[in-house]
Amino acid sequence: MAKTIKEINEKIRKGKAVVVTAEEIIDLVEKKGVKAVAKEVDVVTTGTFGPMCSSGVYLNLGHAKPKIKLGGGKAYLNDVPVYTGFAAVDVYLGATALPDDDPRNKVYPGEFKYGGGHVIEDLVAGKDVRLKATAYGTDCYPRKEIETLINIKDLNEVVLYNPRNAYQNYNVAVNLSDRVIYTYMGVLQPNLGNANYCSAGQLSPLLNDPYYETIGIGTRIFLGGAIGYVAWSGTQHNPTVKRTKNGVPKAPAGTVAVIGDLKKMSPDWLVGTTFTGYGVTSTVGIGIPIPILNEKILKYTAVKDSQIYAQIVDYSEAYPKGLPGSLGEVNYEQLTSGKIRVKGKEVPAAGLSSYAKAREIAQILKGWIEKGKFLLTEPVEYLPSVDSGQTFKPLKERPVK
């Protein structure tokens, strides 16, 4: 029996919708079977909480008296540079931005104690942030410099807009070399000393809707503790990777661009993050509801860790050089057990994505829907899927004449 989003929303409004998390649905389907559960359950909620570097915030600072045009000038928030190439007082703060005087990796491995992701956390926590800017001055914007404290509550708009979040699956990173390496996948000990993965697995949003049949442009979501939306497919969206029989990608595949009002978000779900020797970023909490429109969609949401496979990639050579090939594949049940086998060796495995927090997000979103505070949306447009032929292309370098 197929349902429509309109019918599900009617039940949500009446407080009668049956909502379970992507973890709870697994047992339920195993116990009662697909047919019965598809009738019973209306929504499955997902969640993920991990470092997501393509994240950032655009802010409208308001006009000072006399006015200053930051566009074409330079501006900093807590010494972290922001992009000013817009109109007079719109700026964009990226999660990986670093203060000009941060030593970076000059003393290796760099510490990267404070950057864009931390400024975002401070802003959303309601802390005062220091704005410092210089401009060239025009007839209509005569001022050439400004230094002031600002606070999120006083600004006109502060919008989280992340071009690429919630990767559908990711690599398992290892180090085959004989020295410690410092990567965006964490500190990797030499000679297969450890293996780091980064996905919420069976709770992860896009792994529960592998062909993007319900998640699309305009989908209402949990973002950073508040309501947000899917704005577009994310950058590097790559639906055409290898998949298992049940449709689950076996490598990094789909992504989403997301947007939401930072003023309503919480520092619990947008955390400034440091990778020693690599840089700073933001850890973002996202949860996406999946309407159970039919049995096929339900089956996808019942996917479990033992059915989701990831590729083991060497980050000492293969990754930096862009060489193809995987050292093998493992599933998330093996990864979450804390030990995997690579090249015949037992290797301790650990995650960068917090399963406990992902679970919390799925529960919060479930609560919002059960209370009738959160209605589901029909996508305005679907994300490119397998039939689009869309791939993730490398950069072709050409000689400059």
Binding site: V187, T274, T283, A350, Y355
Partner: protein
């Protein structure tokens, strides 16, 4: 038999003294060196697990104190800040003594101070700076 894990901070003037020799020879103690760091013009640091008769252990520690060595219990040195921890678990695979544990059911991290040897691997690995070292 008694066992203690201690952190010794000693001045530069004592760096070339065979301290552990005396603990073994004069006080009959079993010494396991967990970590050692001696830097020029700085204090030396030695992390020991010392095992022996309770009376010998106390006498050995008094001997160290009399030499001018500052002694702290190892357990106080690594601090896990649960509030900052996101329970991602990246510390699990990098800890050589399994001092960080993830509960299989709750998927939350806990820290067993007794197992920690203050190798500091986790300090660099934690993306949220939830682990601090207090010397």
């Amino acid at each position: 038999m008694a066992k203690k894990r201690i952190v010794l901070n000693f001045p530069h003037s004592l760096v070339d003294k065979p301290i552990t020799y005396h603990l073994v020879k004069d006080y009959d103690l079993i010494i396991n060196i967990l970590r050692a760091r001696v830097t020029p013009r700085e204090e030396g640091l030695l992390v020991l697990e010392v095992t022996g008769d309770k009376r010998d252990l106390d006498r050995g520690i008094k001997f160290l104190k009399d030499l001018g060595i500052k002694i702290e219990s190892l357990a106080q040195d690594i601090k896990w800040n649960e509030k900052k921890c996101t329970h991602c678990g990246v510390c699990l695979a990098i800890c050589p003594t399994e001092a960080f544990i993830m509960d299989r059911k709750s998927r939350r991290i806990s820290f067993d101070k007794e197992r920690c040897i203050v190798c500091e691997n986790c300090l660099r690995a934690c993306p949220y700076k939830a682990i601090e070292i207090l010397f």
